[in-house]
């Protein structure tokens, strides 16, 4: 059931991307979307009554149910990429602010040469 919450987060992110005019808010919306996707991926690996997929010596592997470790590994990669993109986006936002003096998309003019 909790997956609906994460899908909700993804939809909030998309809503934010479509409606916001402020550049920082756009980056925030993108992050909300990314968090939603990451949580959704984690949730697909969940197994009821599963334990962490680590084998100890001497500890019996309960009844053989482990959660799927692959989605966690994927999310780790996706988080790193998300941080990189966010940092780059914020750098570009700062450059835009230096050039146009505003963060609102409506207030800045066109940037073509003619």
């Amino acid at each position: 059931m909790i997956q609906y919450l994460f899908i909700g987060l993804i939809l909030i992110g998309i809503y934010g991307l479509l409606t916001q005019k402020n550049l920082i808010k756009l980056v925030v919306a993108l992050n909300v979307l990314e968090v939603g996707v990451n949580l959704f991926i984690i949730s697909t690996g969940y197994v009821k009554d599963g334990v962490a997929p680590i084998l100890f010596k001497g500890v019996p592997s309960t009844n053989g149910t482990f959660v799927d470790p692959l989605p966690q590994a994927l999310v780790l990669t996706a988080i790193v990429i998300g941080v990189g993109v966010t940092a780059l986006a914020l750098t570009v936002v700062r450059k835009i602010y230096e050039k146009h003096g505003t963060l609102n998309l409506d207030e800045m003019g066109s940037e073509s040469d003619d």
Binding site: I10, I14, L17, L23, L26, L30, L33, E34, V37, F40, I41, T44, L70, P71, L74, T77, A78, I81, G82, G84, V85, L88, A89, V92, V93, K95, I96, K99, H100, M108, E111, S112, D113, D114
Partner: protein, 466 residues
């Protein structure tokens, strides 16, 4: 025998080295680019397992005819672009090396998640390359759309992973028939949307004008040829080798790609600047190639990929050079420019006419081949729309060439006094690029086997020749 891992590892290693040895960064760039061209030509069909985990559990690299063909084009156009616009490289050597590694990785990988990682590395390098001309608004637009696209792609492959339990491409292709139709519809829509951003298909190509339309000689050449090739080839890999579409979904996707072609060409028709025209022409061509892939004509699509990459490399590099050295790329302000630079004009004209598909040029061969084969698979409205869009394409390219060669008012005698005062500098490199690629396009126009022998597997299932 060259291990395909080196195609990714060498540029990546040199990228790290270029951070440490700042003085030698351009030398490292040249070395890596030359190595990659050589390695792409020497590469034999093979499959490499990474890290000792056998597929489908681990990641593997696939070098088949398809990826080798893509790698040869990709690395060649990348090298030509870097060499001809070497004065624009400046401090971007590291980024160029990373993007070279990522583009090679995209072509080679046999794993859907690994493809996502390479796609992200390639697009992050693209974001940085697009800041070369200091047009940050276009870059920001690209970042938002690109990140949204990659997240949708990730969501799509995760839905498939939680259904069939694999991320390996070959394994996925063999198990895809087990997936419920509704789940498949959802996942494929996400994957298509994700790829449509990079491949410039219609509802997701709002960034193209801001990025391509503001490119300089180096970033224009690399975006329009190397990036476009990698993106559209991966689109083809996913939607012809792994997921074979049929039914309603195929009709919907085909409608989108055909509309991309038509609307891209119509948008290009109404542009006044050369780079904006070329940007929308790239959108249109992406739509054409994607249509051919989705129709099942992979071999023809690959021939058009080669045609498009070579033509756009020349045209975008020259248009970027016009912006860098003449300060504008407005067609009206540049009329008669090619009278001053005849060799550059020769290459530009050959590239444009080949892209349009005029007889005696390579593009004509490709388009006739495509149309006759589309008729053979009993499709009538797609060839009709392709012909209609090619007509629009022909009109604006020939109008552009006429202006650039003949200064003067439309409908009146052209006079030398209308010739622009602006001119290009550093023309030797551009002239060499234009002549080499122009002559190569003319060569393959008469010897199309030069291209087709490398992709025989993908042409053999297409009945008949010309």
């Amino acid at each position: 025998m060259i291990n395909p891992v080196l195609l990714i590892a060498i540029p990546l290693l040199f990228a790290f080295l270029s951070v440490m040895f700042k003085k030698a960064d351009k030398g490292l760039l040249v070395l890596a680019v030359l190595f990659n061209v050589l390695a792409a030509f020497l590469l034999k069909e093979t499959e490499v397992v990474i890290g000792g985990w056998k597929p489908p559990f681990g990641i593997n690299l696939i070098a088949d005819q398809y990826s080798i063909f893509g790698l040869i084009i990709l690395n060649t156009v990348f090298a030509l672009s870097v060499f001809s616009s070497f004065s624009s490289v400046k401090k971007y050597s590291t980024v160029l090396l990373v993007s070279l590694a990522a583009l090679n990785g995209m072509m080679l990988t046999g794993d859907l998640f690994n493809l996502f990682v390479f796609l992200e590395i390639a697009s992050i390098s693209a974001y940085i390359l697009s800041t070369m001309t200091k047009k940050f608004k276009g870059t920001f637009n690209y970042i938002i759309l690109g990140a949204l696209g990659s997240n949708l792609y990730l969501l799509g492959i995760i839905i498939l992973y939680s259904t069939v339990g694999t991320l390996n491409m070959a394994d996925m292709a063999s198990k895809i028939h087990l997936v419920n139709n509704n789940v498949l519809l959802l996942a494929l829509t996400f994957i298509f949307a994700g790829f449509a951003v990079e491949a410039k298909l219609m509802p997701f190509n709002g960034w193209v004008k801001g990025v391509y339309g503001n490119a300089n000689d180096l970033s224009g050449g690399i975006f329009a040829s190397a990036y476009a090739t990698a993106a559209i080839m991966m689109f083809g890999r996913i939607f012809t080798n792994i997921f074979v579409l049929d039914g309603t979904l195929k009709t919907i996707f085909l409608t989108i790609t055909v509309l991309t072609f038509i609307l891209g060409e119509i948008a290009a028709f109404s542009q006044k600047n050369i780079r904006s025209t070329l940007a929308f022409s790239s959108v249109g061509q992406a739509g054409l190639i994607a249509t051919l892939f989705l129709s099942g004509l992979s071999g023809v699509a690959m021939m058009q990929v080669a045609n498009h990459a070579l033509a756009k490399l020349v045209m975008f590099t020259i248009a970027g050079a016009m912006y860098v050295y003449a300060g504008t790329d407005n067609i009206e302000k540049l009329q008669g420019l090619f009278k001053k630079h005849k060799l550059i004009g020769f290459g530009f004209s050959v590239a444009a006419l080949s892209l349009v598909g005029l007889p005696i040029f390579y593009g004509f061969y490709v388009k006739i081949f495509a149309l006759s084969n589309l008729f053979k698979i009993n499709s009538y409205w797609i060839p009709a729309l392709i012909l209609f869009s090619s007509l629009i394409e022909g009109i604006y390219y020939i109008r552009m060439l006429a202006k650039l060669w003949n200064p003067g008012e439309e409908g009146k005698e052209s006079k030398d006094e209308y010739t622009t005062k602006l001119s290009l500098e550093n023309t030797f490199a551009y002239a060499v690029l234009a002549v080499v690629v122009g002559l190569f396009i003319l060569y393959i126009s008469y010897n199309p086997e030069f291209i087709t022998q490398g992709i025989s597997n993908y042409l053999s299932n297409i009945a008949g020749g010309m």
